[in-house]
């Protein structure tokens, strides 16, 4: 592995966010697969073992909200909480983004409106699926009409989720930089400036990116992390000597 990099890295999602994302994604895929094999006749015949599939589906469903809830509650979940706030708020630019004509002039923040809508829908769908799924599974106290209604809602939200997730993956695959943001946690400065100018500007103002010293500092840390080095062992990157008494070597990771 090369320790030197020519481009700096803009931190996008921290470790807590990434772990929450990928565990939720894994559970969601298990739920989609088991759910559709319970639902679609030919698939359910193929899968057999219906009781097992049903049990997996119920447990995966109960676990689904846990990663995000735990991450939000953690002290280390500060960035996730801030990002949930960003997903909630729609700026004038966000609204203009939906118009093809105005889109070129739009200055987006950390998330584009499609991501905001997707996150909102999936979050709400998780609540609805949990609620209706619980009525279907523990049906004794509920009337037939409610059970039928719960099944109906569970079915339609499942179809909605299927399309939302297929769309999410398809759009992500067209943008390797964005995938990198969720896979490894960082994006290139070029991507951030082009696609998320307002967010990039915020990071610059905060000194996270943009200034050479800060960039170098981020790079040193990143490289040290990749090399699996402990504090105090600092590689030389791009002519910046991290060990030259500037204090970088003593920083906690």
């Amino acid at each position: 592995m090369s320790l030197a990099t020519t481009t700096s890295r803009v931190p996008r999602f921290d470790r807590v966010e990434r772990v929450a994302h990928w565990t939720t994604a894994t559970l969601m895929l298990v739920l989609l697969f088991t759910g559709f094999s319970l639902y679609a006749g030919p698939l359910s015949d193929l899968v057999g073992r219906r009781l097992l599939v049903q049990t997996i589906h119920v447990y995966a469903g109960l676990l689904l909200p846990i990663p995000v809830l735990v991450a939000v509650a953690l002290r280390a979940g500060a960035q996730l909480r801030a990002d949930l706030g960003r997903l909630n708020r729609w700026s004038a630019d966000d609204r203009a983004w939906w118009s093809r004509k105005k889109r070129a002039a739009v200055q987006l923040g950390k998330f584009n409106p499609g991501q905001k809508l997707n996150a909102t829908f999936i979050g709400a769908a998780m609540v609805v699926m949990l609620m209706t799924g619980a009525i279907m599974r523990w049906y004794e106290p509920f009337s037939d009409s409610w059970r039928q209604g719960a099944t109906f809602v569970h079915d339609w939200f499942a179809i909605g989720l299927l399309f939302a997730i297929i769309g999410h993956i398809a759009i992500a695959l067209r943008d390797p930089d964005a995938v990198n943001g969720m896979a490894r946690g960082w994006v290139s400065p070029g991507w951030a400036r082009r696609n998320r100018p307002r967010w990039y500007a915020e990071l610059s103002d905060a000194g996270v990116v943009g200034d050479p010293v800060g960039d170098a500092r981020a790079r040193v840390e990143q490289n040290r992390r990749e090399a699996g080095m402990g504090a105090g062992e600092v590689p030389v990157v791009d002519g910046v000597d991290g060990g030259a008494g500037d204090g970088l070597g003593e920083r906690e990771l």
């Binding site: 679609a40 359910s44 073992r49 609620m131 037939d144 409610w146 809602v153 915020e202 103002d205």
Partner: protein, 235 residues
């Protein structure tokens, strides 16, 4: 540069969707019934079969055991015994060689879903009862599934109705394992749970023996629209 601000649209959309879901639980049954009626003609004519995946007007498959039991028609047999003069066992080939009866009716489940105009082919149950010679002491008929768990019952009068079949075809196709094949009971005027799938044995009894679901509170006389506290259109 000003940081991101804006209206909390995310929260509003989130709450609206959760509210929509809750409303769907309360009113969904009514909406679904209307949609099923409105879309039945489209689904019937859809050559791709994709419309049948939409969540109304389609069968849902239940089993009370771990899976869908399979039995090859070549080895499938149906036994008629209990309070009869001449107990017998009939093969799939001999069963399907008997004079067939065709019935087209809606199929209604007690949990709410309904499939319009299902086309069944089978042998009238009373043909088999007559062949076995029902003893005067018999008052009811018990059905046993080869899934090893499920049972059902009818009174003798109900069992003698012309719209009660031992069915072996659905929509002109041999009955698949999912649908309860090679042969199952089809009680047209009653909720689906009365139509015992994977039928293996028909036993004449002195009294009605409550079936699997009836031990969990479903009505023994499962007339569509007149039982289980439901008001569906009779089938």
């Amino acid at each position: 540069v000003t940081p991101e601000r804006g209206t909390p649209i995310g929260r509003r959309v989130f709450l609206a969707l959760v509210g929509l879901g809750a409303a769907g639980v309360v009113f969904g049954a009514r909406v679904q019934d209307r949609l099923a009626t409105a879309l039945a003609p489209i689904q019937a004519k859809d050559p791709s079969g994709l419309a049948s995946l939409l969540p109304f007007g389609r069968f849902r498959f239940y089993t009370v055991t771990g899976g869908f039991p399979k039995r090859d028609p070549d080895v499938y047999t149906l036994r008629v015994d209990g309070l009869v003069e001449r107990p017998f066992t009939i093969s799939y080939r001999d069963l399907t060689a008997l004079p067939p009866t065709r019935i087209t009716r809606d199929f209604q489940c007690v949990t709410g879903w309904r499939v319009p105009d299902t086309r069944w082919t089978g042998v009238q149950l009373r043909t088999l009862l007559d062949r076995a010679g029902v003893k005067p002491s018999a008052r009811a008929v018990r059905f046993v599934s080869f899934d090893g768990t499920y049972t059902e019952s009818l009174t003798l009068d109900q069992a003698r109705r012309s719209d009660v079949l031992v069915a072996y075809e659905l929509e002109g196709e041999p009955l698949s394992s999912l649908h309860g094949g090679p042969a199952r009971l089809y009680v047209a005027p009653m909720y689906g749970y009365k139509s015992c799938k994977w039928l293996e044995r028909i036993e004449l009894t002195a009294d009605v023996v409550p079936g699997y679901w009836e031990q969990y509170g479903y009505d023994v006389d499962g007339w569509v629209g007149r039982s289980n506290g439901r008001d569906d259109q009779p089938t």
